[in-house]
Protein backbone atom coordinates (compact mmCIF):
# COMPACT_ATOMS: atom_id res chain seq x y z
CA UNK A 1 0.00 0.00 0.00
CA UNK A 2 1.17 3.48 -0.77
CA UNK A 3 -0.47 6.82 0.02
CA UNK A 4 0.29 9.48 -2.56
CA UNK A 5 -1.24 12.16 -4.75
CA UNK A 6 -2.40 11.24 -8.23
CA UNK A 7 -3.21 13.93 -10.79
CA UNK A 8 -6.22 13.55 -13.06
CA UNK A 9 -4.99 13.82 -16.65
CA UNK A 10 -8.25 13.28 -18.45
CA UNK A 11 -11.77 11.96 -18.03
CA UNK A 12 -13.90 10.56 -20.87
CA UNK A 13 -17.50 9.43 -20.74
CA UNK A 14 -17.90 5.86 -22.01
CA UNK A 15 -21.61 5.22 -21.38
CA UNK A 16 -24.47 7.01 -19.60
CA UNK A 17 -22.94 6.23 -16.19
CA UNK A 18 -19.42 4.96 -16.86
CA UNK A 19 -16.28 7.05 -17.25
CA UNK A 20 -12.65 6.45 -18.11
CA UNK A 21 -10.17 8.34 -15.93
CA UNK A 22 -6.46 8.54 -16.58
CA UNK A 23 -4.32 9.67 -13.66
CA UNK A 24 -0.59 10.21 -13.32
CA UNK A 25 1.36 9.40 -10.18
CA UNK A 26 3.43 6.85 -8.35
CA UNK A 27 2.18 3.40 -9.36
CA UNK A 28 5.04 1.51 -7.69
CA UNK A 29 2.76 -0.18 -5.14
CA UNK A 30 0.62 -1.78 -7.86
CA UNK A 31 1.75 -5.33 -8.50
CA UNK A 32 -1.16 -7.24 -10.05
CA UNK A 33 -4.28 -6.73 -12.15
CA UNK A 34 -7.39 -6.91 -10.00
CA UNK A 35 -5.92 -4.71 -7.27
CA UNK A 36 -7.70 -1.46 -6.44
CA UNK A 37 -7.13 2.09 -5.27
CA UNK A 38 -9.00 3.95 -2.52
CA UNK A 39 -9.50 7.58 -3.50
CA UNK A 40 -10.19 10.45 -1.11
CA UNK A 41 -12.75 12.99 -2.27
CA UNK A 42 -13.09 16.50 -0.84
CA UNK A 43 -15.92 16.69 1.69
CA UNK A 44 -16.45 12.91 1.85
CA UNK A 45 -15.42 11.01 4.95
CA UNK A 46 -14.81 7.63 3.34
CA UNK A 47 -12.59 7.04 0.35
CA UNK A 48 -14.02 5.43 -2.78
CA UNK A 49 -12.57 2.01 -3.67
CA UNK A 50 -12.08 1.66 -7.44
CA UNK A 51 -10.59 -1.27 -9.28
CA UNK A 52 -7.55 -0.66 -11.44
CA UNK A 53 -8.40 -1.14 -15.12
CA UNK A 54 -4.77 -0.87 -16.17
CA UNK A 55 -1.51 0.83 -15.34
CA UNK A 56 1.76 1.79 -16.99
CA UNK A 57 5.02 3.12 -15.55
CA UNK A 58 3.52 6.44 -14.54
CA UNK A 59 -0.18 6.30 -15.35
CA UNK A 60 -3.24 4.71 -13.86
CA UNK A 61 -6.39 3.84 -15.79
CA UNK A 62 -9.65 3.68 -13.86
CA UNK A 63 -13.09 2.90 -15.21
CA UNK A 64 -15.63 4.34 -12.82
CA UNK A 65 -19.36 3.75 -12.70
CA UNK A 66 -21.33 6.53 -11.06
CA UNK A 67 -23.24 4.90 -8.21
CA UNK A 68 -23.76 7.90 -5.94
CA UNK A 69 -22.76 11.46 -5.20
CA UNK A 70 -19.13 10.60 -4.42
CA UNK A 71 -18.41 8.83 -7.68
CA UNK A 72 -20.34 11.56 -9.53
CA UNK A 73 -18.00 14.18 -8.08
CA UNK A 74 -14.99 12.04 -8.95
CA UNK A 75 -15.85 11.70 -12.64
CA UNK A 76 -16.64 15.42 -12.84
CA UNK A 77 -13.21 16.39 -11.51
CA UNK A 78 -11.32 18.63 -13.88
CA UNK A 79 -7.93 17.67 -15.31
CA UNK A 80 -5.18 18.75 -12.95
CA UNK A 81 -7.18 17.78 -9.86
CA UNK A 82 -4.98 16.09 -7.27
CA UNK A 83 -6.46 13.05 -5.54
CA UNK A 84 -5.10 11.62 -2.30
CA UNK A 85 -4.96 7.92 -3.15
CA UNK A 86 -4.09 4.67 -1.42
CA UNK A 87 -2.74 2.48 -4.21
CA UNK A 88 -1.81 -1.14 -4.62
CA UNK A 89 -4.58 -2.43 -2.37
CA UNK A 90 -5.71 -6.05 -2.32
CA UNK A 91 -4.28 -9.22 -3.71
CA UNK A 92 -5.39 -9.08 -7.36
CA UNK A 93 -5.43 -11.92 -9.88
CA UNK A 94 -2.69 -14.51 -9.62
CA UNK A 95 -0.99 -15.09 -12.97
CA UNK A 96 1.61 -17.62 -11.85
CA UNK A 97 0.89 -20.81 -13.81
CA UNK A 98 -1.43 -18.90 -16.13
CA UNK A 99 -3.73 -21.45 -17.80
CA UNK A 100 -3.36 -21.87 -21.58
CA UNK A 101 -6.97 -21.21 -22.47
CA UNK A 102 -8.43 -18.86 -19.86
CA UNK A 103 -11.83 -17.23 -20.03
CA UNK A 104 -12.23 -13.75 -18.56
CA UNK A 105 -15.83 -13.17 -17.51
CA UNK A 106 -17.08 -9.67 -16.72
CA UNK A 107 -20.43 -8.14 -15.92
CA UNK A 108 -20.99 -4.40 -16.36
CA UNK A 109 -18.22 -2.28 -14.88
CA UNK A 110 -16.70 -5.58 -13.68
CA UNK A 111 -15.11 -5.71 -17.13
CA UNK A 112 -12.66 -3.00 -16.00
CA UNK A 113 -10.00 -5.03 -14.13
CA UNK A 114 -10.23 -7.74 -16.80
CA UNK A 115 -8.77 -5.26 -19.29
CA UNK A 116 -5.48 -5.01 -17.40
CA UNK A 117 -5.59 -8.75 -16.78
CA UNK A 118 -6.06 -9.50 -20.49
CA UNK A 119 -3.14 -7.20 -21.32
CA UNK A 120 -0.85 -9.02 -18.87
CA UNK A 121 -1.93 -12.37 -20.33
CA UNK A 122 -1.17 -11.19 -23.87
CA UNK A 123 2.32 -10.14 -22.71
CA UNK A 124 3.06 -13.73 -21.72
CA UNK A 125 1.70 -15.08 -25.00
CA UNK A 126 -1.68 -16.25 -23.76
CA UNK A 127 -4.78 -15.39 -25.80
CA UNK A 128 -7.72 -15.19 -23.42
CA UNK A 129 -11.34 -15.59 -24.32
CA UNK A 130 -13.22 -12.57 -22.96
CA UNK A 131 -16.94 -12.90 -22.21
CA UNK A 132 -18.62 -9.65 -21.23
CA UNK A 133 -22.22 -9.17 -20.21
CA UNK A 134 -24.18 -5.91 -20.20
CA UNK A 135 -27.82 -5.01 -19.71
CA UNK A 136 -28.06 -3.42 -23.12
CA UNK A 137 -25.83 -2.29 -26.01
CA UNK A 138 -25.68 1.27 -24.68
CA UNK A 139 -24.01 0.03 -21.47
CA UNK A 140 -21.17 -1.72 -23.28
CA UNK A 141 -17.70 -0.17 -23.18
CA UNK A 142 -14.10 -0.98 -24.11
CA UNK A 143 -15.06 -3.51 -26.78
CA UNK A 144 -12.58 -2.07 -29.30
CA UNK A 145 -9.88 -1.91 -26.64
CA UNK A 146 -10.32 -5.59 -25.76
CA UNK A 147 -10.42 -6.52 -29.46
CA UNK A 148 -7.24 -4.53 -30.09
CA UNK A 149 -5.43 -6.60 -27.47
CA UNK A 150 -6.17 -9.62 -29.65
CA UNK A 151 -8.58 -11.39 -27.29
CA UNK A 152 -11.39 -13.70 -28.44
CA UNK A 153 -14.22 -11.34 -27.48
CA UNK A 154 -17.86 -12.36 -26.96
CA UNK A 155 -20.67 -10.13 -25.75
CA UNK A 156 -24.04 -10.91 -24.21
CA UNK A 157 -26.79 -8.41 -23.49
CA UNK A 158 -29.93 -9.08 -21.52
CA UNK A 159 -32.12 -7.53 -24.22
CA UNK A 160 -30.20 -8.91 -27.19
CA UNK A 161 -29.34 -5.44 -28.51
CA UNK A 162 -25.70 -6.51 -28.89
CA UNK A 163 -24.12 -9.94 -29.26
CA UNK A 164 -25.88 -12.94 -27.77
CA UNK A 165 -29.22 -12.37 -26.06
CA UNK A 166 -28.75 -13.69 -22.55
CA UNK A 167 -26.07 -13.78 -19.90
CA UNK A 168 -22.33 -14.36 -19.61
CA UNK A 169 -23.10 -17.92 -18.49
CA UNK A 170 -24.44 -18.57 -22.02
CA UNK A 171 -21.14 -17.33 -23.46
CA UNK A 172 -19.17 -19.62 -21.16
CA UNK A 173 -21.22 -22.64 -22.27
CA UNK A 174 -20.55 -21.66 -25.89
CA UNK A 175 -16.78 -21.92 -25.23
CA UNK A 176 -16.58 -25.47 -23.82
CA UNK A 177 -12.79 -25.64 -24.21
CA UNK A 178 -12.40 -22.93 -21.55
CA UNK A 179 -12.26 -24.39 -18.06
CA UNK A 180 -10.23 -21.77 -16.17
CA UNK A 181 -12.12 -18.58 -15.30
CA UNK A 182 -11.18 -15.07 -14.14
CA UNK A 183 -14.36 -13.36 -13.05
CA UNK A 184 -15.48 -9.89 -11.97
CA UNK A 185 -19.02 -8.57 -11.76
CA UNK A 186 -22.06 -8.22 -9.53
CA UNK A 187 -22.56 -10.91 -6.89
CA UNK A 188 -25.50 -12.69 -8.61
CA UNK A 189 -23.32 -13.06 -11.70
CA UNK A 190 -20.36 -14.38 -9.69
CA UNK A 191 -22.68 -16.89 -8.11
CA UNK A 192 -24.14 -18.07 -11.44
CA UNK A 193 -20.69 -18.41 -13.00
CA UNK A 194 -19.31 -20.18 -9.92
CA UNK A 195 -22.07 -22.79 -10.28
CA UNK A 196 -21.05 -23.79 -13.83
CA UNK A 197 -19.55 -27.31 -13.74
CA UNK A 198 -17.55 -26.55 -16.90
CA UNK A 199 -15.28 -24.16 -14.98
CA UNK A 200 -12.86 -26.41 -13.11
CA UNK A 201 -10.81 -23.55 -11.68
CA UNK A 202 -11.42 -19.87 -11.20
CA UNK A 203 -10.46 -16.60 -9.57
CA UNK A 204 -13.40 -14.44 -8.54
CA UNK A 205 -13.18 -10.74 -7.71
CA UNK A 206 -15.63 -9.63 -5.01
CA UNK A 207 -17.16 -6.29 -4.15
CA UNK A 208 -18.06 -5.05 -0.68
CA UNK A 209 -18.80 -1.83 1.11
CA UNK A 210 -15.59 -0.94 2.89
CA UNK A 211 -14.18 1.82 5.04
CA UNK A 212 -10.38 1.66 5.12
CA UNK A 213 -9.63 -0.59 2.13
CA UNK A 214 -6.38 -1.85 3.69
CA UNK A 215 -7.51 -4.48 6.18
CA UNK A 216 -7.85 -2.55 9.44
CA UNK A 217 -11.58 -2.15 10.04
CA UNK A 218 -12.73 -5.62 8.90
CA UNK A 219 -15.91 -3.97 7.61
CA UNK A 220 -15.83 -5.98 4.38
CA UNK A 221 -15.32 -9.49 5.79
CA UNK A 222 -16.94 -12.44 4.05
CA UNK A 223 -17.04 -16.09 5.09
CA UNK A 224 -14.79 -18.49 3.11
CA UNK A 225 -13.85 -22.15 3.44
CA UNK A 226 -10.69 -20.93 5.19
CA UNK A 227 -12.63 -18.79 7.68
CA UNK A 228 -13.46 -15.07 7.67
CA UNK A 229 -11.55 -13.12 5.02
CA UNK A 230 -11.35 -9.40 4.29
CA UNK A 231 -12.42 -8.53 0.74
CA UNK A 232 -10.07 -5.53 0.76
CA UNK A 233 -6.90 -7.20 2.01
CA UNK A 234 -7.20 -10.99 1.60
CA UNK A 235 -9.16 -10.41 -1.65
CA UNK A 236 -10.78 -8.90 -3.58
CA UNK A 237 -9.86 -11.95 -5.69
CA UNK A 238 -10.67 -15.35 -4.17
CA UNK A 239 -10.09 -18.83 -5.56
CA UNK A 240 -13.08 -20.93 -6.61
CA UNK A 241 -12.45 -23.43 -3.77
CA UNK A 242 -12.49 -20.73 -1.08
CA UNK A 243 -15.90 -19.29 -1.90
CA UNK A 244 -18.93 -19.82 0.31
CA UNK A 245 -22.28 -18.31 -0.79
Amino acid sequence: MKQSLFTLEHARQLTADTYELVLSGDVSAITAPGQFVNVELPGRFLRRPISIANWTEDALLLIVRVVGEGTRELVRSVPGTELDTLSGLGSGFDLTDCPENPILIGGGVGAAPLFGLAGRMREVGVTPTVALGFRTAADAFYLEEFARLGCHLFIATEDGSLGTKGFVTDLVKASPACTAAFVCGPTPMLKAVHALPQLKSGQYSFEARMACGFGACVGCTIQTTGGPRRVCKDGPVFQKEEIVW
Partner: protein
Protein backbone atom coordinates in the same frame (compact mmCIF):
# COMPACT_ATOMS: atom_id res chain seq x y z
CA UNK B 1 10.87 21.11 24.19
CA UNK B 2 7.44 19.79 25.09
CA UNK B 3 7.10 16.69 27.21
CA UNK B 4 4.34 14.59 25.64
CA UNK B 5 4.46 11.87 28.31
CA UNK B 6 1.26 11.00 30.18
CA UNK B 7 0.35 8.46 32.85
CA UNK B 8 -2.80 6.34 32.95
CA UNK B 9 -3.41 4.65 36.30
CA UNK B 10 0.32 4.23 36.83
CA UNK B 11 1.07 3.15 33.25
CA UNK B 12 3.48 5.62 31.63
CA UNK B 13 2.94 6.40 27.94
CA UNK B 14 5.38 8.40 25.82
CA UNK B 15 2.47 10.44 24.45
CA UNK B 16 -1.32 10.51 24.82
CA UNK B 17 -2.11 9.14 21.34
CA UNK B 18 -3.68 5.68 21.29
CA UNK B 19 -5.32 4.14 18.20
CA UNK B 20 -8.79 3.00 19.25
CA UNK B 21 -9.96 -0.58 19.32
CA UNK B 22 -11.66 -1.69 16.15
CA UNK B 23 -9.94 0.87 13.95
CA UNK B 24 -6.43 -0.56 14.16
CA UNK B 25 -6.79 -4.36 14.03
CA UNK B 26 -3.65 -5.80 15.62
CA UNK B 27 -1.44 -3.07 14.15
CA UNK B 28 -0.11 -5.10 11.22
CA UNK B 29 -1.48 -2.91 8.40
CA UNK B 30 -0.28 0.32 10.03
CA UNK B 31 3.20 -1.06 10.68
CA UNK B 32 3.59 -1.00 6.87
CA UNK B 33 3.04 2.77 7.00
CA UNK B 34 4.99 3.87 10.11
CA UNK B 35 6.93 2.60 13.11
CA UNK B 36 4.29 1.78 15.74
CA UNK B 37 6.74 2.57 18.55
CA UNK B 38 5.96 6.27 18.08
CA UNK B 39 2.48 5.60 19.60
CA UNK B 40 1.58 6.10 23.24
CA UNK B 41 -0.08 2.69 23.16
CA UNK B 42 -2.67 0.96 21.07
CA UNK B 43 -5.93 -0.72 21.87
CA UNK B 44 -6.28 -3.89 19.85
CA UNK B 45 -9.45 -5.26 18.27
CA UNK B 46 -12.20 -6.12 20.76
CA UNK B 47 -11.82 -9.69 21.96
CA UNK B 48 -14.45 -12.13 23.18
CA UNK B 49 -14.14 -15.61 24.73
CA UNK B 50 -15.16 -17.39 21.52
CA UNK B 51 -14.32 -16.49 17.92
CA UNK B 52 -16.96 -14.27 16.31
CA UNK B 53 -17.63 -13.71 12.61
CA UNK B 54 -19.61 -10.57 13.37
CA UNK B 55 -22.57 -9.25 11.41
CA UNK B 56 -23.55 -9.94 7.78
CA UNK B 57 -22.69 -7.57 4.92
CA UNK B 58 -23.01 -4.68 4.45
CA UNK B 59 -21.39 -3.48 7.65
CA UNK B 60 -20.22 -0.01 6.61
CA UNK B 61 -22.09 3.15 5.59
CA UNK B 62 -20.89 6.69 5.07
CA UNK B 63 -22.47 9.67 6.80
CA UNK B 64 -21.88 13.41 6.78
CA UNK B 65 -18.47 13.85 8.47
CA UNK B 66 -18.31 10.26 9.59
CA UNK B 67 -19.33 6.68 9.14
CA UNK B 68 -21.47 3.92 10.56
CA UNK B 69 -20.08 0.50 11.28
CA UNK B 70 -21.86 -2.66 12.28
CA UNK B 71 -18.91 -5.05 12.27
CA UNK B 72 -20.15 -6.80 15.40
CA UNK B 73 -16.91 -7.64 17.22
CA UNK B 74 -15.39 -9.94 14.61
CA UNK B 75 -12.40 -11.55 16.32
CA UNK B 76 -10.67 -14.95 16.55
CA UNK B 77 -11.38 -15.40 20.29
CA UNK B 78 -9.20 -14.68 23.30
CA UNK B 79 -7.09 -17.85 23.18
CA UNK B 80 -6.12 -17.25 19.53
CA UNK B 81 -5.40 -13.58 20.28
CA UNK B 82 -3.08 -14.50 23.15
CA UNK B 83 -1.39 -17.33 21.23
CA UNK B 84 -1.06 -15.68 17.81
CA UNK B 85 -1.72 -11.95 17.83
CA UNK B 86 0.09 -10.86 21.02
CA UNK B 87 3.44 -12.39 19.92
CA UNK B 88 3.09 -10.59 16.60
CA UNK B 89 2.17 -7.31 18.31
CA UNK B 90 5.33 -7.74 20.43
CA UNK B 91 7.39 -7.48 17.24
CA UNK B 92 5.63 -4.29 16.12
CA UNK B 93 5.11 -2.36 19.34
CA UNK B 94 7.33 -2.53 22.41
CA UNK B 95 5.31 -0.50 24.90
CA UNK B 96 2.33 -1.59 27.01
CA UNK B 97 -0.71 -2.42 24.87
CA UNK B 98 -4.34 -1.98 25.78
CA UNK B 99 -6.39 -5.16 25.56
CA UNK B 100 -9.99 -4.43 24.66
CA UNK B 101 -12.42 -7.13 25.74
CA UNK B 102 -16.11 -7.77 25.23
CA UNK B 103 -18.47 -10.29 26.76
CA UNK B 104 -21.96 -11.70 26.79
CA UNK B 105 -21.93 -12.43 30.51
CA UNK B 106 -20.22 -11.02 33.58
CA UNK B 107 -18.32 -14.30 33.88
CA UNK B 108 -17.05 -14.02 30.28
CA UNK B 109 -15.59 -10.59 31.01
CA UNK B 110 -13.92 -11.93 34.16
CA UNK B 111 -12.55 -15.01 32.40
CA UNK B 112 -11.06 -12.85 29.61
CA UNK B 113 -9.39 -10.68 32.26
CA UNK B 114 -7.96 -13.70 34.08
CA UNK B 115 -6.36 -14.87 30.83
CA UNK B 116 -4.95 -11.43 29.98
CA UNK B 117 -3.63 -10.96 33.52
CA UNK B 118 -0.86 -13.43 32.65
CA UNK B 119 0.27 -11.42 29.58
CA UNK B 120 3.07 -8.98 30.52
CA UNK B 121 2.62 -7.04 27.26
CA UNK B 122 -0.81 -5.89 28.34
CA UNK B 123 -0.58 -2.66 30.31
CA UNK B 124 -4.27 -1.87 30.62
CA UNK B 125 -7.44 -3.87 30.12
CA UNK B 126 -10.19 -1.89 28.44
CA UNK B 127 -13.59 -3.39 29.10
CA UNK B 128 -16.10 -2.71 26.35
CA UNK B 129 -19.54 -2.50 27.95
CA UNK B 130 -20.83 -0.39 25.11
CA UNK B 131 -20.69 -2.11 21.72
CA UNK B 132 -23.87 -1.04 19.90
CA UNK B 133 -23.61 -3.84 17.35
CA UNK B 134 -23.79 -6.94 19.48
CA UNK B 135 -27.05 -8.07 20.91
CA UNK B 136 -26.31 -9.79 24.20
CA UNK B 137 -29.78 -11.14 24.75
CA UNK B 138 -31.03 -7.57 24.62
CA UNK B 139 -28.71 -6.56 27.39
CA UNK B 140 -26.08 -3.88 27.11
CA UNK B 141 -23.97 -3.78 30.25
CA UNK B 142 -23.05 -0.16 29.75
CA UNK B 143 -26.61 1.08 29.61
CA UNK B 144 -27.41 0.97 33.32
CA UNK B 145 -25.43 1.71 36.44
CA UNK B 146 -26.14 -1.58 38.15
CA UNK B 147 -24.86 -3.87 35.38
CA UNK B 148 -21.91 -1.55 34.67
CA UNK B 149 -20.91 -1.81 38.34
CA UNK B 150 -21.39 -5.58 38.29
CA UNK B 151 -19.00 -6.00 35.34
CA UNK B 152 -16.50 -3.59 36.92
CA UNK B 153 -16.41 -5.48 40.22
CA UNK B 154 -16.05 -8.83 38.44
CA UNK B 155 -13.15 -7.73 36.20
CA UNK B 156 -11.37 -5.99 39.07
CA UNK B 157 -11.47 -9.24 41.04
CA UNK B 158 -10.04 -11.12 38.03
CA UNK B 159 -6.91 -9.07 37.32
CA UNK B 160 -4.24 -6.94 38.97
CA UNK B 161 -3.84 -4.86 35.83
CA UNK B 162 -5.50 -1.44 35.64
CA UNK B 163 -9.00 -1.75 34.24
CA UNK B 164 -10.64 0.98 32.15
CA UNK B 165 -14.34 0.72 31.37
CA UNK B 166 -15.30 1.86 27.88
CA UNK B 167 -18.60 3.69 28.18
CA UNK B 168 -21.53 4.03 25.84
CA UNK B 169 -22.85 7.45 24.81
CA UNK B 170 -26.25 5.87 24.18
CA UNK B 171 -27.47 6.60 27.70
CA UNK B 172 -29.41 9.36 29.44
CA UNK B 173 -26.66 10.30 31.88
CA UNK B 174 -23.15 9.04 31.20
CA UNK B 175 -21.81 10.61 34.41
CA UNK B 176 -24.09 8.38 36.46
CA UNK B 177 -22.68 5.23 34.75
CA UNK B 178 -19.17 6.61 35.23
CA UNK B 179 -19.80 7.07 38.96
CA UNK B 180 -21.13 3.51 39.24
CA UNK B 181 -17.93 2.18 37.60
CA UNK B 182 -15.76 4.35 39.85
CA UNK B 183 -17.56 3.17 42.98
CA UNK B 184 -17.11 -0.45 41.86
CA UNK B 185 -13.34 0.04 41.65
CA UNK B 186 -12.57 0.99 38.04
CA UNK B 187 -9.04 2.36 37.53
CA UNK B 188 -10.10 4.56 34.67
CA UNK B 189 -12.68 5.22 31.97
CA UNK B 190 -12.64 5.42 28.21
CA UNK B 191 -15.33 7.38 26.44
CA UNK B 192 -17.14 7.40 24.15
CA UNK B 193 -17.91 4.31 22.11
CA UNK B 194 -19.91 4.92 18.93
CA UNK B 195 -23.33 6.55 18.80
CA UNK B 196 -26.15 4.35 17.60
CA UNK B 197 -27.24 5.45 14.14
CA UNK B 198 -28.84 4.38 10.88
CA UNK B 199 -29.00 5.02 7.13
CA UNK B 200 -31.68 3.97 4.66
CA UNK B 201 -30.84 3.10 1.06
CA UNK B 202 -33.15 5.14 -1.19
CA UNK B 203 -32.76 2.60 -4.01
CA UNK B 204 -34.08 -0.31 -1.93
CA UNK B 205 -35.97 1.72 0.69
CA UNK B 206 -34.43 -0.58 3.31
CA UNK B 207 -31.79 0.03 5.99
CA UNK B 208 -28.38 0.22 4.36
CA UNK B 209 -26.68 -1.90 7.01
CA UNK B 210 -27.65 -5.57 7.25
CA UNK B 211 -27.68 -5.10 11.04
CA UNK B 212 -30.13 -2.19 10.42
CA UNK B 213 -28.29 0.05 12.90
CA UNK B 214 -24.61 0.77 13.41
CA UNK B 215 -22.22 2.87 15.44
CA UNK B 216 -21.51 6.42 14.29
CA UNK B 217 -17.90 7.61 14.49
CA UNK B 218 -15.73 10.26 12.87
CA UNK B 219 -15.59 14.05 13.25
CA UNK B 220 -19.40 14.20 13.47
CA UNK B 221 -19.30 12.81 17.02
CA UNK B 222 -16.39 14.91 18.34
CA UNK B 223 -18.47 17.61 20.10
CA UNK B 224 -20.67 14.93 21.71
CA UNK B 225 -17.62 13.03 22.96
CA UNK B 226 -16.04 16.25 24.22
CA UNK B 227 -19.16 17.19 26.19
CA UNK B 228 -19.38 13.73 27.73
CA UNK B 229 -15.70 13.76 28.75
CA UNK B 230 -16.37 17.16 30.32
CA UNK B 231 -19.37 15.80 32.28
CA UNK B 232 -17.53 12.68 33.47
CA UNK B 233 -14.44 14.69 34.50
CA UNK B 234 -16.71 16.78 36.72
CA UNK B 235 -18.31 13.67 38.21
CA UNK B 236 -15.42 11.29 38.96
CA UNK B 237 -11.75 11.47 39.92
CA UNK B 238 -10.57 8.69 37.56
CA UNK B 239 -8.23 9.13 34.57
CA UNK B 240 -10.19 9.39 31.32
CA UNK B 241 -9.21 8.29 27.83
CA UNK B 242 -11.14 10.64 25.55
CA UNK B 243 -12.36 9.09 22.33
CA UNK B 244 -14.67 10.15 19.53
CA UNK B 245 -13.98 11.90 16.25
CA UNK B 246 -10.48 13.15 17.04
CA UNK B 247 -8.65 13.84 13.80
CA UNK B 248 -6.01 16.50 14.54
CA UNK B 249 -3.48 17.54 17.17
CA UNK B 250 -5.80 20.44 18.01
CA UNK B 251 -8.63 17.96 18.69
CA UNK B 252 -6.31 16.03 21.04
CA UNK B 253 -5.61 19.18 23.05
CA UNK B 254 -9.28 20.15 23.11
CA UNK B 255 -10.18 16.69 24.43
CA UNK B 256 -7.49 16.94 27.11
CA UNK B 257 -8.69 20.39 28.16
CA UNK B 258 -12.15 18.84 28.62
CA UNK B 259 -10.65 16.32 31.05
CA UNK B 260 -8.94 13.50 29.15
CA UNK B 261 -5.53 12.24 30.30
CA UNK B 262 -4.99 10.50 26.96
CA UNK B 263 -6.98 10.04 23.76
CA UNK B 264 -8.01 7.24 21.46
CA UNK B 265 -8.23 7.78 17.74
CA UNK B 266 -10.49 5.56 15.68
CA UNK B 267 -12.12 6.46 12.38
CA UNK B 268 -9.35 8.90 11.41
CA UNK B 269 -7.02 5.91 10.95
CA UNK B 270 -9.39 4.38 8.42
CA UNK B 271 -9.51 7.50 6.28
CA UNK B 272 -5.81 8.22 6.61
CA UNK B 273 -3.52 5.35 7.65
CA UNK B 274 -0.86 7.84 8.79
CA UNK B 275 -3.31 9.88 10.92
CA UNK B 276 -1.80 9.05 14.32
CA UNK B 277 1.74 9.67 13.08
CA UNK B 278 0.76 13.08 11.71
CA UNK B 279 -1.05 14.00 14.94
CA UNK B 280 1.91 12.98 17.15
CA UNK B 281 4.29 15.01 15.00
CA UNK B 282 2.12 18.10 15.29
CA UNK B 283 1.41 17.87 19.02
CA UNK B 284 4.58 19.66 20.26
CA UNK B 285 3.89 22.74 18.12
CA UNK B 286 0.26 22.90 19.25
CA UNK B 287 1.33 22.58 22.90
CA UNK B 288 3.85 25.38 22.44
CA UNK B 289 1.13 27.54 20.97
CA UNK B 290 -0.98 26.78 24.05
CA UNK B 291 1.93 27.70 26.31
CA UNK B 292 2.43 24.34 28.02
CA UNK B 293 5.73 22.50 28.40
CA UNK B 294 4.06 19.28 29.52
CA UNK B 295 1.03 18.07 27.65
CA UNK B 296 -0.39 16.54 30.83
CA UNK B 297 -0.89 20.10 32.10
CA UNK B 298 -3.78 20.38 29.66
CA UNK B 299 -5.89 17.72 31.34
CA UNK B 300 -9.05 19.31 32.71
CA UNK B 301 -7.67 22.78 32.00
CA UNK B 302 -10.97 24.05 30.64
CA UNK B 303 -12.75 23.50 33.97
CA UNK B 304 -12.57 26.78 35.83
Amino acid sequence: MVNLGVTLAGVALKNPVIPASGAFGYGREFAEVYDLDILGSFSFKGTTAQARFGNPQPRIAETACGMLNAVGLQNPGIDAVIAEELPNIAKLFHGPVIANIGGNTVEEYAENCRKLDACPQVGIIEVNISCPNVHCGGKNFGSDSKSAAEVTAAVKAATKKPVFLKLSPNVTDIAEIAKACADAGADGLCLINTLLGMRIDLKTKRPLLANRTGGLSGPAVFPVALRMVWDVYEAVKLPIIGCGGISSAEDVCEMMLAGASAVEIGAANLKNPAACKTIIEKLPAVCERLGVTEISQLTGGAHA
